[in-house]
């Protein structure tokens, strides 16, 4: 067994990590921007939201909580599952990625804090038993046509592929770490954050506008999506760099999306619980987000996936994606 005395002497370059190129790079700029855009949900006033919520019908209350409780859980999950990405950034010697990811994890924690405070102050519920009546399981959603099944990319995919990435980091094979990073970032930043969750944010904001209610919930979602814009483009920028150097990694992106293809093809349950919402808007919007992510990654979009998302004959309801 090796001892600490067996370790090679550290170079100066491995200790002084800043370079001018790094500080001029896109990921370091995201770190700087994140520092400039701090916000604290603990300072906000939730009294108007509580008054507004009490005036909603029981159906409106239930419909809204279906999505906010999923966000409360999802934000905790993505905070807790981010560590493998930081480990990989460290192993790949990307200090700019490590610096940015430190703000990323803080922001995900802050999102979970916002939802915890909102539920506690607006509906007096925050603990699992208090929120259980509003939790809807979606693990077993199936397309009646038999063509698609949906899974839980946040609760199953992230822990599984995060563990795979940790194992690659432990083994120290840089190629395997890169591949594991592309798989994990595709699932986390590209698919969950960058495609599946985007309509959910917009649905809540649109609902608040339609009801002319819940100003703090609306404000919170606005703040969160600004953070998400940095998260998503960190993932696509980092993966783009790896794909440009190793074009075969582009196939890994498509493979990961294929695992949870049905989650984008189906329609979100919440879309049907608020009748005033324009259902077509959120379904076609997924196509834009998917094409945007492919453009950022420098890979071709899968036209059959686009056609399936837009196909009005494919009609099944899945859960809320929140992360």
């Amino acid at each position: 067994m090796s001892t600490i005395e067996d370790l090679p002497e550290r170079t100066l370059e491995s200790r002084l990590r800043f370079t001018r190129d790094m500080m001029a790079g896109p990921v370091y700029r995201k770190y700087e921007r994140a520092l400039r855009k701090m916000w604290d949900p603990g300072e906000w006033d939730y009294t108007q939201d509580r008054a507004d919520f009490e005036k909603l019908t029981p159906e409106q209350q239930k419909g809204l909580l279906m999505i906010t409780v999923r966000f409360l859980a999802g934000e905790q999950e993505v905070t807790d599952e981010l560590l493998p990405m930081i480990y990989a950034a460290h192993m790949l010697g990307r200090y700019d990625w490590v610096m940015y990811l430190s703000t990323f994890m803080l922001e995900e924690a802050r999102h979970s804090q916002f939802f915890a405070i909102w539920h506690d102050k607006v509906i007096d519920c925050v603990e699992p038993e208090e929120l259980r009546p509003y939790w809807v399981d979606h693990e077993k959603t199936t397309d009646p046509s038999g063509h698609f099944t949906t899974g839980e990319p946040v609760y199953e995919g992230l822990p599984f592929y995060g563990q795979k990435l940790v194992e690659a980091c432990h083994a120290g094979d840089l190629k395997e770490i890169e591949k594991g990073f592309v798989r994990f970032a595709t699932l986390y930043n590209v698919w969950v954050e960058g495609v599946l969750t985007m309509p959910s944010y917009e649905m809540v904001i649109d609902t608040c506008d339609i009801w002319n209610a819940l100003p703090t919930l609306r404000h919170g979602f606005k703040q969160i999506i600004a953070d998400e814009g940095r998260h998503i483009t960190f993932g696509t920028t980092a993966c783009r760099e790896l794909i440009d150097a190793n074009p075969e990694y582009g196939d890994l992106v498509h493979e990961m999306i294929e695992l949870y293809r049905g989650n984008a093809v189906g329609m979100l349950g919440y879309q049907r619980s608020v009748p005033e919402l324009n259902l077509d808007k959120y379904q076609t919007q997924k196509v834009r987000h998917y094409k945007n992510r492919c453009r950022e990654l420098g890979i071709d979009a899968d036209q059959t996936l686009i056609d399936q998302i837009l196909d009005p004959n494919i009609d099944f309801v899945i859960g809320v994606e929140a992360g």
């Binding site: 995201k30 814009g229 076609t284 919007q285 196509v287 834009r288 945007n292 453009r295």
Partner: protein, 55 residues
């Protein structure tokens, strides 16, 4: 160099051009609001923007 961005909304394909990135972000979001009742993140516009020769 001017900056250009292309809309990926289904059946849109609008091309927006501006003198600099700040103006492009403003114009893109004006397009997203008016044409699609939506928005686009500034980081995503920055990543997707391409340099073009000014008209």
């Amino acid at each position: 160099m001017a900056k250009q961005w292309t809309c990926n909304e289904h059946e849109c394909g609008a091309v927006i051009t501006a003198d600099d990135i700040d103006e492009l972000i403003e114009k893109v979001n004006q397009h997203m609001t008016e044409a699609h009742d939506s928005y686009e993140f500034e980081e995503m516009i920055e990543v997707a923007a391409v340099d073009v020769n000014a008209a």
